[in-house]
């Protein structure tokens, strides 16, 4: 009070004003709670996830275009040998491959029997395709299941051995195997 007198209603007024302030604050808090949104801070997680993604992208190696040739190996069980004791063995066509060149990167193909040696694997495929007994070609010698044995020399590169196998498989022969190296 400016004049130094005590106003008996002054304290009551102050109390009322404080009550009002408290009441307003409570209402405000209630409204604030109603509007509060629960949210996750995803930034850290996204950082980690992207780091993981980049790591796996750089580390992973893919097997691009891998394919297979199925090859049944000759069975050595007694049951397989006694399948038909009177059946005559067909003389297999043997494809010999020799390595040549300084780094064994060249090859020489020859065939068992009175056949001309193919110069390349494409020639080998042409020969095998022409010599197959079928409705399309005439004058063939070999049935589709005629045994064909690929017999590479010891130092022949695997890619050359598999190309010979591919030539026979491409010509639709079904009984193609590898033998021990010469």
């Amino acid at each position: 009070m400016p004049d130094g007198k005590i106003n008996p209603f002054d304290g009551a007024f102050q109390l009322r004003a404080e009550d009002e302030i408290i009441a307003h604050t409570r209402i405000g808090q209630r409204r604030g709670r109603e509007n509060a949104r629960i949210s996750l801070n995803l930034v850290a997680m996204i950082d980690v996830v992207f780091l993981l993604l980049i790591y796996f992208l750089t580390v992973t190696d893919f097997k691009l275009g891998e394919e297979i040739y199925r090859m049944d190996l000759p069975q050595r069980q007694p049951s397989a040998q006694l399948a038909d004791p009177f059946e005559l063995d067909e003389d297999p066509l043997r494809i010999f491959i020799d390595s040549a060149g300084r780094d064994f990167d060249q090859y020489v193909i020859s065939l068992s029997g009175p056949y001309e040696s193919p110069a390349t694997f494409e020639d080998l495929y042409d020969f095998l395709h022409q010599q197959q007994i079928s409705e399309v070609t005439t004058g063939g010698f070999f049935a589709a299941n005629h045994p064909i044995i690929v017999q590479p020399e010891r130092s022949v590169r695997w890619e050359h051995a598999i190309e010979a196998f591919n030539a026979a498989a491409k010509a639709r022969y079904t009984n193609v195997t590898f033998s021990k190296p010469r």
């Binding site: 996204i46 275009g65 040739y69 190309e163």
Partner: protein, 156 residues
């Protein structure tokens, strides 16, 4: 009479949920794929690449992978069957044959994928085929068929 609608300031927000979904899927994919590749294959092998080959895409049948790890000048370092390594000598081949025989006992129709480097000499690849054939006999499974899948790369 025209009506004027008051809109607040537009908030530009990115919806991160689909992105997180996709990223998680990618991570799960890479985790699975990279484990399989590491266990089965050797990275140093350059498979024979053939143009228009008569090969086929591998199916979902049960198979094991034998890697012929290349050495220098067409030689071989060692063989790898599954996660185990075997020396490229008689003892190593015998141990690998015994391992394959055990696998044939578990699954007589097992296929063996043979992965060898294009420059590896045939003398180092052929023993794997011998081992597979011998393992089928050794397993004493009457219906075991020794079958090798020769793995190549298709070049277009």
């Amino acid at each position: 009479m025209s009506v004027v609608t008051k809109r607040g300031l537009a908030r530009v927000e990115a919806n991160l949920t689909p992105m997180i979904d996709v990223v998680f899927l990618l991570i799960v994919f890479f985790v699975l794929v990279s484990q399989i590749v590491d266990l089965e294959n050797i990275k140093e092998i350059t498979l024979p690449a053939l143009i228009d080959p008569a090969s086929e895409i591998a199916g979902e049948e049960q198979r094991v992978v034998v890697n012929v790890e290349p050495g220098i000048d067409g030689d071989v370092k060692r063989y790898k069957l599954g996660g185990q390594f075997y020396a490229a000598d008689l003892q190593g081949i015998k141990a690998m044959t015994a391992h394959l025989a055990d696998l044939y006992k578990l699954n007589p129709s097992l296929s063996v994928n043979l992965r060898a480097d294009a420059s590896t000499h045939y003398q180092w690849v052929e023993p794997v085929m011998q081992a597979v054939a011998n393992a089928a006999v050794l397993s004493q499974q009457p219906n075991a068929v020794p079958r090798v899948n020769l793995v190549v790369i298709r070049e277009d």
